[in-house]
């Protein structure tokens, strides 16, 4: 099969919380299939049995001392936000109740 099913595309769209047009669904059936095939190739790489593949870097993580450092002001923290409300960052609501 060279395309994902319509249901698979809609499931991924739901996880990403986006709505798709019919045209987009059709487009992603093909494009996402290419991506999924690549992921499947990675999944087929056999894990080393006992040792977990932790990371490509073979050294122990450096632990940071528990000390508070410099922080942003509310003005700077919200500077790049598309919308704000006082010191809050404002986003569209994403719950259904």
């Amino acid at each position: 099969m060279d395309k994902l099913s319509r249901e698979e595309v809609l499931h991924v769209a739901h996880l990403a919380r986006i709505s798709l047009t019919e045209e987009e669904i059709e487009k992603f059936r093909g494009e996402l299939k290419v991506l999924m095939d690549d992921i499947d190739k990675i999944k087929n790489v056999k894990d080393v049995d006992d040792e977990i593949m932790y990371t490509p870097i073979d050294f122990n993580a450096r632990l940071r001392d528990d000390v508070v450092g410099a922080m942003l002001s509310a003005k700077d923290a919200t500077l790049n936000a598309p919308a704000k409300n006082g010191s809050f960052i404002e986003v569209p609501v994403m719950i259904n109740e």
């Binding site: 632990l63 528990d66 942003l72 010191s87 960052i89 569209p92 609501v93």
Partner: protein, 472 residues
Amino acid sequence: MSEFTPTIGIEVHVEVKSKSKLFSNSANTYGMATNTAVNVIDLGYPGTLPTINKEVIRQGVRACKVLNCDITRKMHFDRKNYFYPDNPKNYQITQNRTPIGRNGYVEIEVDGIKKKIEIEEMHIEEDTCKSAHRGSVSLLDFNRAGVPLIEIVTKPCISNSKEAMAYLTKLKELLFYANISDCKMEEGSMRCDSNVSISKDDTFGTKTEIKNISSIHNVGLAIDYEIKRQEEMLNNGEIIKEETRRFDDKQGKTILMRVKETGNDYRYFIEPDIPYLELTDEFINDSLSTLPLLPDELREKYSRVGLSSLQIEKLINNRSLNDYFLGLLSYKTNYVTAVNLLLSDISSYLNRHNKVITDTHLSYEKLVSVIEALETRDLSNKNVKDLIDSLMETDKTLDELKKEFNIENITDDNFIKDIITKVIDNNPDSVNDYKSGHDRALKYLMGQVMKETKGAVNPKMASDMLCDALNK
């Protein structure tokens, strides 16, 4: 009796006590002005890199010990991928494959029966930002983003709401006493999700998850409601769906939030920005060396010095008094009297002035001298009440305060004799009651002596002299 058997599993998130956050050095505090305890790592800016806070790992090791978990020696972090505005990186850094602790337990007792609630695993992860929903928009405060959390997951081994509440009470007590978390459910530093299913046989039924229940009491109510709801559905031939619900405490109901996404949908993979972490014996021993005594150890210790179980529970419920009392144990004194004072006059003073005991001037030496004076009856309970403010607020010794308050006990024999004669003459009925064997009459007469002298006589001396006079 229902034909269904409930199965309950509980997931608890506790905010870990530390100065800074899990992967960034911004402050881990509650109550700061909106979006001021943040830096670019907490906001998920591209190009920023997380570094692990040593203290959080130490707290994780301590939590393993306290909850009887095996400590994972070699661990890594994972990315849990999801789209939601509370996490602008679009993934949460957590531990999926190598949780810091596994196979633990917490022992509870319900209706006299002991049970081990088994802990499947506990892992360290970062908190998300706090969202407040206002109509069509949500307002985000990132002060909470990146706050260290420990998530503790039980096996599905809890049978009813009573066990669930006992488990949460014990868990809260343990983590609080070990200084791992404040465990304040009202401030969100301890959050609880319950998974509930029912079944007629040994197989598990379809579970529903009840999210973010705000108190231990409400966990009990939510579980009871959910069991009843599921029973009614199955009895009506309906099918239970795997879904996430919330508990509305005003209506006393669980309400559907969303149909659950499965674990696969999160597409966990190893966090490539953090190398693996291997804990040495030295690190583990060092972390555990600062663990204070835990509640069950305290119960045993206090029982050995003669405290009643009621005193012990009251003391353990008051952390600052408990810590103070622990220090007192290195002094030789009457500990029962000490606890009585701590839980009565001293607690009452602290509540009245909204203070903790370490904010006061009550040194151990001063408290020991008060206890001694009470034992030798050089001081009455009423005297303590009169002196309490000065005992707590000044560095003056007990002797100095007694002089200042003019409460040197009257030890003049003749004066006391006169008072006793007067009391006996004025209360012939009580005297007869005493002589007929009613001991309570003696207490009444003694009360009259203290009233006449406004509590100024040495109580032991007065009591002995009253008995002599009555027995003549």
